[in-house]
């Protein structure tokens, strides 16, 4: 089976989408972007392939299959958690002098994380879009904070060890083989009996022998210039977002993408071709990272922010435009007794307000608007956007897909599928079309 791969190496997350010849999505993969781009891309790609295989193998089992798929991912996480614990030990023991003292302290902390692995990774936590790094980090730091509050431990030392260890673990590619993980996952799924397990495993082995053959691929995103791809296989993320949004919602004429560190407003025509765009770079104010900071500041997980903000009864006015200062303003507001949800609602609104300016600059919202990028997963942002768009432009259809974060990668895959048609005028491209420096 021929397939087409789109890779979006974003500043925060790396995404992969696999299409079949009918331009249907057969697999998606996502991971957080990390220092080793090759690893990030490889992880995303493997996830997409695994996703395609899993849906082939487990798809027929319906809900029970979905359960098994979750268990499959759980296996991967457990494996990485074991690696992390081990790495923490070795980093700590390498510290001259205090190593001997730090190893057991670190190990105790890690044990508290391992103890709650079920709770961390189970229950579909990963489906909601949290990454291993975030889940484990949050847990580790709350354990550390707790221990330090009792005044027993050296915060800076231990957090340093942890930071170093997680970096190491993230940047190595070491996974449980597909079949092993599948087998373990099936065992963990009580609704699947032994016979069914055997049969499924056999389809699994067969699937692995005949994986989707990747006929073409296109890379895009912030880090695209670093992708190990031929130059013709790289497209500006503006073009990919436009194309991807068009594929999901053909009537869309405006695309708003809010990613980790930039915001783009794109106007497209009836074929998904870009007619104009505006982007903000230079300053991270009002992008996804802003929310990351806030989540850190409040000790919340990223996915919890939006729902909490939605419970606000009287949103605050937030004026800080700087991502870093917003954290301070938040602290100040909480200190004077503002409710957390009201402050959060204000923060979300501030982000969307900035995006509205960009939208206006790109030409406004004259027809259907599609909201893409990671921030489109945040219900408070989508809510604020809906309200502001209708206030300033009148009633407009706003499309938001559950898979909005994959829009760029989808656009890339579509360019790959459509045989990378490059108009004469730009051929041959002497130099890489993109530069991120």
């Amino acid at each position: 089976m021929k397939s087409y791969l789109g890779i979006d190496l974003g500043s925060t997350t790396s995404k992969a989408v696999l299409l079949d010849e009918n331009e249907q999505v057969i697999g998606r993969g996502i991971t957080n972007t990390r220092a080793n781009y090759d690893v990030a891309v490889e992880v995303a790609r493997r996830e997409a392939l695994a996703d395609a295989l899993l849906s082939r193998v487990l798809g027929p089992l319906g809900e029970r299959g979905a359960e098994a798929a979750r268990a499959f991912r759980f296996e991967g996480d457990l494996h990485r958690l074991r690696q992390l614990r081990q790495t923490c030990r070795s980093v700590a023991s390498a510290i001259p002098g205090d190593g001997a003292r730090l190893v057991p302290e670190m190990d105790t902390l890690m044990a508290r994380v391992v103890d709650v692995a079920d709770e961390l990774f189970g229950g579909g936590a990963r489906d909601r879009g949290a990454f291993f790094r975030d889940l484990v980090g949050a847990r580790f730091y709350s354990a550390l904070d707790e221990a330090c509050a009792r005044g027993q431990l050296d915060f800076d030392r231990l957090s340093g060890i942890y930071d170093r260890a997680i970096l190491q673990v993230e940047n190595q590619l070491d996974e449980v083989p597909f079949i092993d993980a599948l087998e373990a996952a099936l065992r963990r799924t009580p609704s699947i009996d032994a016979a069914e397990r055997e049969a499924t495993l056999r389809t699994g082995i067969d699937a692995v022998r005949h994986p989707p053959e990747i006929a073409a691929m296109v890379g895009t995103g912030y880090g695209r210039a670093r992708l190990p791809f031929a130059r013709e296989c790289i497209r500006s993320e503006i073009l990919c977002h436009g194309m991807g949004a068009h594929a999901m919602f053909p009537a869309t004429r405006t695309v708003l993408d809010i990613g980790g560190q930039d915001t783009k407003a794109i106007q497209v025509d009836g074929a998904g071709l870009v007619t104009g765009f505006q982007m903000n770079d230079r300053c991270a104010a009002g992008c996804g990272r802003y929310l990351g900071y806030i989540a850190d500041e409040l000790n919340l997980a990223l996915q919890e922010l939006g729902p909490l903000a939605l419970t606000a009864d009287k949103p605050c006015r937030i004026t800080s435009t700087c991502t870093v200062f917003a954290g301070i303003e938040l602290r100040d507001l909480l200190a004077v007794g503002e409710k957390r949800e009201n402050v959060l609602a204000g923060l979300h609104r501030a982000i969307v307000t900035r995006a509205m300016s960009l939208l206006a600059r790109s030409g406004g919202v004259n027809d259907q608007l599609t909201f893409t990028g990671g921030v489109a997963k945040n219900p408070a942002c989508t809510g604020a956007l809906t309200e502001l768009v209708s206030r300033h432009y009148g009633p407009r259809t706003i499309n938001i897909s559950a898979d909005s974060i994959y829009t760029g990668a989808l656009g890339g895959a579509l360019f790959a599928r459509r045989d990378l048609r490059v108009p004469d005028v730009t051929e041959p491209t002497k130099e890489c079309a993109t530069c991120i420096d």
């Binding site: 220092a35 957090s159 340093g160 930071d163 230079r282 991270a284 700087c322 200190a335």
Partner: protein, 287 residues
């Protein structure tokens, strides 16, 4: 005149610093204790309570009531109820800076979120100053983020940077975007030291601008958390060296406490003044 014992509390955005000092009859200041504690997501008032006691204990002062004056600086409201009066950040950093290093004619305070350049005369009189606002590019928070990403401890940052042969240029100056730049650099295989040195160059550029705007003259004493960063000091020296009259860049082991020490010293000054004058404006004070 008699000896006075006073305390200064410097409430920063990332850490609280407390100093207890003696002012002799001749105006000489001796620091009895200086302590600091990171706030780290705790309520600042709670942190203050914690370390104020510690500062008193280290200074062998029995109780707050034994102090002639308790001066706050920085986000002073946190110390409401405890303080006698308040001095603004640059006033106290100027004084504290000169107590630590009498030769200094400019104090450059670089904390977690703000940077301030203060030009002073030999009596710690503030002649002119500039401070950053709105944008946290080029301050401590930024270094912390990067160090954390690189898995380097803050107190190692300076030496690693100084050991590097070259600096990897950082294009953006944004505290947040630079982080992604750094991810990118690591991915290109750039050595940690070169990245840090690039970061230091970029902060130094910001600080040089600030110094220029405040018309800072030498010698420059660095205060605040980043004064401890030898890599930044070296970068700043290099950067200013491009100008004709490059000032000398100094630091002091107690640079972090300059604000607290300065506030405590002003507290003594104010106490004597209030003692002399009819005590009318005690409340209006300097707050």
């Amino acid at each position: 005149m008699h000896r006075l014992t006073t305390a200064g509390i410097d409430i920063g955005s990332s850490a609280i610093k407390v100093a207890v000092v003696d002012e002799e009859a001749d105006g000489q200041i001796t620091v009895r204790s200086a302590v600091s504690e990171r706030i780290r997501r705790r309520a600042p008032a709670q942190v203050l309570g914690l370390i104020f006691e510690r500062a008193l204990a280290e200074a062998r002062v029995g109780a707050a009531a034994d102090l002639a004056y308790i001066a706050s600086t920085g986000e002073g409201d946190v110390a409401q109820g405890l303080r006698t009066g308040h001095f603004y950040g640059m006033t106290s950093h100027a004084r504290g800076g000169l107590i630590l290093e009498p030769r200094a004619r400019t104090v450059l305070d670089v904390g977690a979120l703000y940077a301030r350049a203060i030009q002073v005369d030999e009596h710690a009189k503030v002649l002119s100053y500039r401070m950053t606002s709105q944008c946290a590019a080029g301050t401590g928070q930024f270094v912390e983020n990067i160090a954390r990403y690189l898995g380097v401890r803050l107190d190692e940052v300076g030496d690693i940077s100084n050991a590097a042969q070259r600096a990897e240029p950082v294009s953006g100056i944004c505290a947040v975007l630079a982080e992604t730049d750094v991810i990118n650099m690591v991915s290109r295989g750039i050595a940690t030291g070169e990245i840090l040195r690039g970061i230091h160059e970029s902060i130094a550029q910001q600080l040089a601008k600030l110094l220029r705007a405040a018309r800072g003259k030498g010698p420059v004493l660095m205060t605040g958390g980043l004064a401890a960063d030898a890599g930044l000091r070296a970068a700043l020296t290099r950067r200013l060296g491009e100008d004709d009259k490059a000032p000398e860049i100094l630091s002091h082991p107690r640079s972090l406490y300059a604000g607290a020490i300065g506030a405590a010293a002003w507290g003594a000054f104010r106490h004597r003044k209030l003692e002399r004058a009819a005590p009318i404006d005690q409340e209006a004070g300097l707050a």
